[in-house]
C-alpha cells in the first residue's frame, strides 16, 4: 500500500474536505479528534452528515464537536446514540433544530451504532440485534426470530471521512490508542473512505511499533498529522 500522507498542519489535512460529506467522529470523552474538528470548523465545511456517539452542545470553540457545526446550521443530518439531553432542563441547539424539523436525526442504541460502523468497515451490509426490540427504535424495521427470540435488522454505516485520535502512529499509518481513548476509533477508521488521523506522540519510523500491538493497521489510514505542542491534548474536563 502507499503509505499515508503526513501533513504539517491540521488545516492542510482537512483542506480539501468537501461540503456535503459524511463524517464519523469518534470519542467518548478521550479519543475525540479535537484538533481536526477545530480545523474543519475553520475550513468552513457545511451540509454535513455526522455520525457520532452524541451530537454535542457545541458551546466551546476550543473543544469543537458536531454541536458547533449544528449550531451554525452546517449539518443536514445526524446519526447518534444521544441526540437529546437526558435532563429536560438542558436543551442543545441540535435538539431544538430536530424538534423543529430543521435537522434530520436518527437515534441509534450505542451498541447498534458501534456494530453498524463495524459492519460498514467489514463488508457486512446488515445484521440482526436484540437491542431496541419492543421500543420506538424498532418502528419500521424488520423483526426476525432466531431460536425463538426476536431481533431487529440493522444496516451498515460508512462515511466519506473519519477523523481519528491516536496515541502513537508510524509512517505506515499503523495506530495505537491509549486506554479508553480507543472507543470508536478503530471501527470508524475501518468504515470511512478517507481516514485522517491526529497523533499525540511523534510519528515514528516504520518498524518501530510491535505488529502485535497495532490497534488499527495502516492499510486503513490515508492521512496523518502530529498534534502540535499547542494543540488540544486532553479532555480537560468531563464533557
Amino acid at each position: 500500500m502507499k503509505p499515508p500522507i503526513i501533513y504539517d498542519t491540521m488545516a492542510e489535512a482537512v483542506d480539501d474536505f468537501a461540503d456535503g460529506s459524511s463524517l464519523m467522529i469518534p470519542g467518548f470523552g478521550p479519543g475525540t479528534p479535537w484538533n481536526l474538528m477545530r480545523a474543519l470548523y475553520h475550513q468552513g465545511a457545511t451540509d454535513l452528515i455526522t455520525i457520532s456517539n452524541g451530537i454535542g452542545f457545541g458551546t466551546d470553540p476550543e473543544l469543537v464537536n458536531a454541536g458547533n457545526f449544528i449550531s451554525d446550521g452546517r449539518v443536514k443530518e445526524v446519526i447518534a446514540a444521544f441526540t437529546a439531553s437526558t435532563h429536560p432542563s438542558s436543551v442543545s441547539a441540535g435538539e431544538e433544530l430536530i424538534r423543529a424539523g430543521k435537522l434530520k436525526a436518527e437515534i441509534v442504541p450505542q451498541g447498534t451504532l458501534a456494530e453498524r460502523i463495524r459492519a460498514g468497515g467489514s463488508g457486512i451490509p446488515g445484521f440482526y440485534t436484540p437491542a431496541g426490540i419492543g421500543t420506538q427504535v424498532a418502528e419500521g424495521k424488520e423483526v426476525r426470530s432466531f431460536n425463538g427470540r426476536d431481533y431487529l435488522l440493522e444496516t451498515a454505516l460508512t462515511a466519506d471521512y473519519t477523523f481519528i485520535r491516536a496515541w502513537k502512529a508510524d509512517k505506515a499509518g499503523n495506530l495505537i490508542y491509549r486506554r479508553a481513548a480507543r472507543n470508536f476509533n478503530p471501527i470508524m477508521a475501518m468504515a470511512a473512505t478517507t481516514t485522517i488521523v491526529e497523533v499525540e506522540q511523534p510519528i515514528v519510523e516504520i518498524g518501530e511499533l510491535d505488529p502485535d500491538h497495532i490497534h488499527t493497521p495502516g492499510v486503513y489510514v490515508q492521512r496523518l498529522v502530529k498534534i502540535p505542542e499547542d494543540g488540544t491534548f486532553v479532555v480537560r474536563r468531563p464533557v
Partner: protein, 228 residues
C-alpha cells in the same frame, strides 16, 4: 419496624445499597448517574468486574482529585481508576461482550419502571419517534444483561410515582427487563407482574412507600430497614 425520623437515602447511600445487591464474581455495568457511584462501594473480595460501554473492562473507584488519567473514564465520562487485570477493547467489541449475555447486571437510571419490568430512561417526553433521545448503551444493556437494576428517586420532583402500572414515556425495553429498583426510600423487587417491597429507608413504613407507588405492591415476608 421502628417509626423514627424519616431519612431518605443520599445518592451515595443509594449506590451503596446497589452494591449490596451484587453477587460474588459478577460482571457489572454501571450507567450514568447514581449507578456509576456504585463503583466506590464494591468490596474487593466480591471479585466484581466493572465494565463500561466504552470498552474498559475492570475499572475501579472514581479517580481522586489530581490523580485523574484523562484517558480512563467510565460510561459517565467520569475519571476512574483501572484495577489490576483490566483490559481495553473498542466500542464494537465492548457491545459484543454486552450482547453476548456476559453482563450479570447493569444498573441504570430511569424515569419510570412498570410492574411488568419494562422501564423508560431515554426520552423525557412522550413524543412520537422523531430521532430525539438519549439512548446511549441502555437499550443494548436492557436487552442483553442477565438482570437490570434501576437506581432512581422514588418520585418525580412533583411527587408523582416513578414505579408505575405502565410507563407513560417511551420504553427502553419491554416487559421482563428490570428485576430490582433501588430508590431513595425503598428497595423493590420486580417480578411476576408486580412490585415487592423488600427494604425501606430508615424511618419509612410500608404505607409511606405505598402512597408514592403506583401499581400492585406486595410486601416481602422479609421486609426490613436498609442498612446504610
Amino acid at each position: 419496624m421502628t417509626t423514627t425520623e424519616k431519612r431518605p437515602l443520599t445518592r451515595d447511600q443509594m449506590a451503596a445499597v446497589c452494591a449490596q445487591h451484587l453477587g460474588e464474581g459478577w460482571n457489572v455495568n454501571l450507567g450514568i448517574g447514581i449507578p456509576t457511584l456504585t463503583s466506590n462501594f464494591i468490596r474487593e473480595e466480591m471479585q466484581i468486574t466493572l465494565s463500561s460501554e466504552n470498552g474498559v473492562i475492570g475499572y475501579g473507584v472514581l479517580a481522586g482529585e489530581g490523580e485523574e488519567d484523562t484517558d480512563v473514564v467510565n460510561a459517565g465520562v467520569q475519571y476512574v481508576t483501572l484495577n489490576p487485570g483490566a483490559a481495553i477493547v473498542h466500542h464494537a467489541d465492548s457491545f459484543a461482550l454486552i450482547r453476548s449475555g456476559k453482563i450479570d447486571v447493569s444498573i441504570l437510571g430511569a424515569y419510570e419502571v412498570a410492574i411488568d419490568g419494562s422501564f423508560a430512561n431515554w426520552k423525557t417526553r412522550n413524543e412520537p419517534s422523531n430521532g430525539l433521545g438519549g439512548i446511549g448503551g441502555a437499550m443494548d444493556l436492557a436487552a442483553c444483561a442477565k438482570q437490570i437494576y434501576v437506581a432512581m428517586q422514588h418520585t418525580t420532583r412533583d411527587g408523582a410515582p416513578r414505579l408505575v402500572t405502565e410507563c407513560s414515556l417511551p420504553v427502553t425495553a419491554p416487559a421482563g427487563a428490570v428485576t430490582l429498583v433501588v430508590t431513595d426510600i425503598a428497595v423493590v423487587r420486580v417480578a411476576g407482574g408486580e412490585f415487592t417491597l423488600e427494604q425501606v429507608a430508615p424511618g419509612y413504613t410500608e404505607d409511606d412507600i405505598r402512597q408514592v407507588t403506583e401499581g400492585k405492591l406486595s410486601i416481602s415476608p422479609s421486609l426490613h430497614e436498609m442498612s446504610v
